[in-house]
Each structure stands twice: as structure tokens, then as C-alpha cells.
Symmetry: C2
Subunit: 413 residues, 2 copies
């Protein structure tokens, strides 16, 4: 590479945030034409039917009542103990794996994904991931010089594509000795798909069969949307990560961003699951080192909010009510969208929960452009469109499938 | 290296926080013997004379009055524009360098140091740094596989050791083509030393003479304590970073942690200064990519606090008053310490401002241990002791030099 003041590995074109761009265009359209006229499916945050960001009262009342000294002070580098203990319990519910479990506080779910890619891979090793994925995974692999390999997410019947996953895993382990398998489930971003429990058994069988001597596999569970993925049973699958062979290590990226409507507070954790106590501890040591080297410690107020809510029965109830209400809001919006889509034969990937529904189509960028003419602003990715049930009112969810179908037909006829 | 589930580069022993340990011991001693009896010189935060963390009212009233939606929402990946613009103005005051300036929001000052080491060095390149330094620099260099080389900070007359700096720079540039020169000034942690303006001229002359074709130098100014380093004139030196040759790039690590008593909010910025617009932009692009890959974005509330205060004349005045009062508090404590030290011939490094004063001594760990018997808890580093004027009342600052002197004599007689 040419001589340059930027080090070779650190040269990147300006990261253009496609979502941000469409979102800005949408804001301008709303100003011009009025909110009623515009469908804003660009956002990745919970928005009420009047277009306002939902910020749970329980969460922000807790913050506003917090002693300012608790906000001002540093948290522990690895995260405060009370926070991590409560977060682990909250994440797993009654389905805690039987294994050694350690956790490190991270900047949202991002930090936990980052730590897994950093700690369990050397440069040139592979992270494998379904081809409907959150783009930041790719950015992280670029940044740290890890290879990012995608496989076809679903088969023709819209089941998790075990065959393609297996091929991808075999490819990675043939080339190298380490691999991170990224799963964004339940309530996948961008599709709303959840891998079902019986499929997890099959996936784990494959992984176990590949975890031969000298090969190391990290199963990375990004569960950013898990609290919006069902009434509790969506956490059952965590039990399956008990007693896995020692050269498989599981990490869970848990985020307060969605579950506490605390996107801007940057709080989360990387939960480490291993059948070997020493390995769990050493992964913890590695990630604590990474915390120190990258951000010192995470937002203290974020950690305190979780602890304060969990320790106050009344506040906890009020938080759980807000969460449940909003989960049902999403469910209602999604149901309407899915029903309408079915009526007019608009194909979308199976939705089980979370913030988004994905519509596969050809020329998604063109379709997204066409939709602007119909006053709908929507994010296009490689394989289709990401419809944001988190951000679009029920009323607009009902008319959206028809608009999308028309635009797809107009572009691809 | 042996086979292991942790990737080769990511294996670290548990990061033991020496400061945290002594601090915990001190807390226990306070519980047993009472606060009056104990001198707690372990903390790195502003503590009032009653032992309470100082958290500016202006800052936390601003937070408590903030619309919850502004706390809940995501900030921009590179940081919000208003925040970055105001922060740059605030950092430089009237002494903004004549150059292209860009800024990226970071998790405290840590994030800005991290970005500089990441973006301007390849693996194996050197960061050079005085031998009285903040230990996190070393942790970062370990984490990212950069070499960390220290040089004797001060000469025999307690001036910045230009000769040793030059040797170190020459060594690094003989071995490799890139170097980061870390300067923690003004109000150095752990010494309170500030490099004076005339010495900056000499340093820059050396750096310019070494910035030959094909060599790239990043001057990293960690100014975490700058707002406690003088009445404003301590910012004059920033002007010197105007019109430097293109293969020198300057970055400033600015932190809200100390200047806003907002340690736990993790807000800061990396300010990039270059005479070449394209290089400034490309450094920005690289660091924005790093933000996305490591933490997505920083605490929104932190950014909003700075913006809200700067945009509210009354609040701004009240913030500036609090800052000034606390700067004077530090000054008073330090003056008393320095005066007493002089009276009893306790040698310490020259103090110009900031949170700490350093006392060089042999066997610092033993001395720190001995001091516990005298009810003083203090952090030992490689070359001496770090006395925390930020955390010790004026009254106790007056009796501390004698205790320290006695302990040094007892250990090293």
C-alpha cells in the first residue's frame, strides 16, 4: 500500500450510513407534507403512533431520581458486580445454562460482539453469519482484519438453512483453527426470524461434531431483541448451552438499548458460557483488558438503572409493564402487516418478533427509491427491504404491504 | 504459543487494578477508624473535604432537566455535530491552531488515545512516552500490539528532558516509519507537571527535523486535566500546532470526565489537527470506522450536557463558576502540600496543576505499605508515589508531606 499518515490497516472510506441518509430525507418530507402523509420505516428505535421516541418512564424516572454522585463516578472496568449478576439473571430467566458463567460490561450489544470477534479470533480467521445480517458485523470484521463469510440464511421452506451453515462452518475450519458463528436470534435484525428450539439441537450437533481437537468454536448469540421476541419461552434455548465440549465457548451479547429503551446510554454485557472454569475466567480477563484499552469502563448510569430497577419491587413491576405493553404494540403492528401481506401475496421472511420484518426482492435500492414517490421511506439492504414495525403505526402497517408490493412490481416488471 | 480457546494475541493475565485494591483497603480503614483519622490519597476524582465525590450541580441539573427522549436516543456514530463543534471551541479557547480540524466523539479521553494508537500505528510500531505515565497507555499498546517505549521524563533540573525524548524518537523512527509521541500535559497525570511554551518550541523543532519524507509522526496531546491547569493561558501552546509539515498529525484527547466531573458518562473527543485537509478527513474516516466497530456511538446524555450548558448563558456561567471554584480548591491544597514539602526537604516533581503530585523515591511499594501504618493510603507506581490533591483535604495536605518523608526514610534508610 502507498505511503500515508494513516496506518495501512486503518484506511477506510467514509462510513456512509445509508439508514441515516434515508432517515434525513424522510424528516424533510415530513416537514414538507406533514407526518400523516409519510410512512417512516427508517428508524431502529421504538416509536409511538404519533412519531415520538418511546422512552420508558420507569427507566428515566429511575435515572432522574439517581444520586448525582452515582452518575458522576466511574464504574468498575469489567462492570459493577451487582449489575453483571442481575443482568445475567435477567437475560437467562429460568433457563440459565449449567456451566461456568462470567460477564463483562460492554458498550451496548456492539461491545459484546466486538469482544467476541477480538478475543476468539486471530487476524485472518473467519466469522460466519447468515446473509441477512446487521451491517456492523461486517464493519467490525473489516476493522479487526477478520474474514466475514455469509451463508444463505433460510432454505426454500423458510427454515434455518442448516446445510449452508454447515458448509460455511466446514469451510472456515478447513482454512483455519478458529471460528466465530454469529447468530442474531431470537427476533433477528433485520428479519424478525427466530431459530426454533429443535433447530438449535441440530445446529449444536453440527458444531459439536466439528469441535475436534485443535479447533476452537465461539458461538456468539446476539440477543439484542430478545425481550421483544416472545412471552418468555424464547429464552428456553439458553439451556442448550450447558455442558458443551471445552473447545466450544458461547458468548451472549445482551443489550439495554432496546430492552430498556436506553439506546443512548451504551450499556450491555458480554456473557461468557463455558464448561471449563479456567477458560471462562481467561475469556473474562481478555475482555477486561479490552475494556481498559478501548473505553476504560461503561456508562455508570446505565448500570445503575438496571440495578436500581431490579432492586425496587414497584419500579420493577412498572418497568415490566412498560416492556410488555410495547412488546404487544409491536406484535399488533406486525400482525396487521403480515395479514395484509398475505392477502395480497407479498412475500416476507417469517416474523417471530422484534423490531423488523424483511421483504426479499430484486433491486431493493430501486424499490426503496420508488417507494419515496409513494411517501414511504424504507431501508434497503442487499437482499430486500427492512420494514420497521418498531417505528410505523398500526394504521400505516396496514397500508404498507400494498405500497411495497406495487413498488416491487413497478421496478421489477 | 500453546493451543487455547483464547486467540494468541488476546491472552492476558487478569488486569489487577492496584489503585482499586489500595482504595478498597482504605475504605475498610475508614469504616474501622473513622474518616478523620485516615488520609485517602487513592482516588482520581475530585473529592470535597468531607470525603464526598464532587459532582457539579450545573452538569447534573442539566441532565435532570433533559428531555428523556434526548437521553434515550442514539447519538451519531462520529458524535453529534453541535457537540463536536462546541467541544473544539471549548478545548482550544482563543488559541485554536490554524489548520484543518476535525473531531470524533470518544469514550472519555481513553477512546481518543486508543484511536490515535490504532489509526496512526501498525502492529510493531512505537508509541514513545515519558517514564511517569498513566498506566492505561501501556495496556492499550499491549492490546493492539504496539511497542511502548518510555524515556526519562525530566532532567536533573526538573525540566522536560529534551535529550532523552529525542533519543527515544530517533530510536523509534530508525526501527520503523511511524511513531506516536504521547504527551500528557498540561497538568500531567501522575505528576502535575506542565511542559512550558518555550520547551514546546524545542520539542516541535526536533519533531519537525525528524519528519522527513516517508516518516509519519502523530503528536498525541492528552489534555485530560487541562481545565485544572491554569487560568486559561495553559491553552496558548495549542497555537503552535498550526502549519506543521503534512507528515506530522496532531491529535488532542479531550475528556469531559474531569472538566465536567462526568467520569461515569464516558464522553470525550479526539480532535484531529493537520495542515492537509484530506489527511484530517481520512483520519476522521478511520476513527469513525473504529467507533462503529467498537461501541457504535458514545453516551448521548454526555454530549447533550455539553451542548445544553454551552447554549444556556446562565447555566454556562454557573458551570464556569463551579469549575473555577474547584480549580482554586486544588490550587490551595497543592500550595499547602508544596510549602510543607519544601520546609522538610521532601522532594517532589514540579507541580503546575491537575489532580496529582508525584514524589520520586526508592521502593515506592514498600513506602506505600509503610504509610498504611501511618493511616495514609497512597498509590505507588514504578518511580514513586502519587499524591492525590484532588482527594485530600487542605488540612490533611498539610500533614501529608511529613508522613511521606518519614515513611521514605524508614524504608530506605
Amino acid at each position: 500500500m502507498g505511503k500515508d499518515i494513516i496506518a495501512d490497516h486503518a484506511r477506510w472510506p467514509r462510513l456512509e450510513d445509508e439508514i441515516f441518509k434515508v432517515s434525513e430525507e424522510c424528516k424533510r418530507a415530513i416537514k414538507e407534507k406533514g407526518r400523516d402523509k409519510i410512512i417512516n420505516s427508517t428508524l431502529g428505535t421504538l416509536i409511538d403512533d404519533d412519531g415520538n421516541l418511546i422512552a420508558f418512564n420507569s427507566v428515566y424516572d429511575t435515572l432522574k431520581n439517581m444520586d448525582k454522585k452515582s452518575i458522576a463516578s466511574y464504574g468498575a472496568i469489567e462492570g459493577d458486580e451487582a449489575y453483571l449478576d442481575l443482568l445475567v439473571d435477567k437475560c437467562f430467566g429460568p433457563y440459565k445454562p449449567k456451566a461456568y458463567i462470567k460477564a463483562v460490561a460492554t458498550a451496548g450489544g456492539t461491545g459484546a460482539v466486538r469482544h467476541s470477534l477480538w478475543t476468539f479470533l486471530n487476524q485472518g480467521d473467519y466469522a460466519i453469519c447468515p446473509n441477512w445480517y446487521w451491517p456492523a458485523y461486517l464493519t467490525m470484521c473489516e476493522e479487526f482484519d477478520r474474514e466475514f463469510k455469509t451463508y444463505e440464511f433460510l432454505d426454500e421452506d423458510f427454515n434455518f438453512n442448516l446445510e449452508e451453515f454447515t458448509k460455511s462452518l466446514d469451510f472456515a475450519l478447513e482454512k483455519r483453527d478458529r471460528v466465530v458463528c454469529i447468530f442474531n436470534s431470537p427476533a433477528n435484525n433485520p428479519t424478525g426470524f427466530s431459530i426454533e428450539d429443535s433447530m438449535w439441537d441440530k445446529i449444536l450437533d453440527v458444531i459439536k461434531s466439528r469441535a475436534v481437537d485443535g479447533k476452537y468454536i465461539n458461538i456468539l448469540l446476539d440477543v439484542a431483541y430478545i425481550e421483544f421476541a416472545g412471552d418468555g419461552s424464547q429464552k428456553k434455548f439458553f439451556q442448550k448451552f450447558s455442558s458443551l465440549p471445552e473447545n466450544i465457548i458461547t458468548t451472549v451479547a445482551y443489550s439495554m438499548s432496546k430492552s430498556y429503551t436506553a439506546y443512548g446510554l451504551r450499556a450491555g454485557a458480554c456473557i461468557i458460557i463455558s464448561s471449563n472454569e479456567d477458560m471462562a475466567n481467561r475469556a473474562f480477563d481478555s475482555m477486561k483488558h479490552s475494556n481498559r484499552a478501548n473505553l476504560s469502563n461503561i456508562t455508570h448510569a446505565g448500570m445503575n438503572i438496571l440495578v436500581d430497577i431490579e432492586n425496587d419491587e414497584e419500579m420493577k413491576k412498572s418497568y415490566e409493564n412498560e416492556l410488555e405493553l410495547n412488546r404487544l404494540l409491536l406484535e399488533k403492528r406486525a400482525k396487521v402487516f403480515v395479514k395484509k401481506a398475505k392477502e395480497i401475496d407479498l412475500i416476507h421472511l417469517p416474523y417471530f418478533g422484534g423490531f423488523f420484518i424483511s421483504i426479499p426482492c430484486n433491486n431493493p435500492k430501486e424499490v426503496s427509491k420508488k417507494l419515496k414517490e409513494k411517501n414511504m421511506y424504507i431501508v434497503a439492504n442487499k437482499n430486500g427491504l427492512r420494514f420497521a414495525v418498531c417505528a410505523v403505526s398500526e394504521e400505516k402497517c396496514e397500508i404498507s404491504p400494498k405500497l411495497i408490493k406495487e413498488a416491487i412490481d413497478e421496478v421489477n416488471r
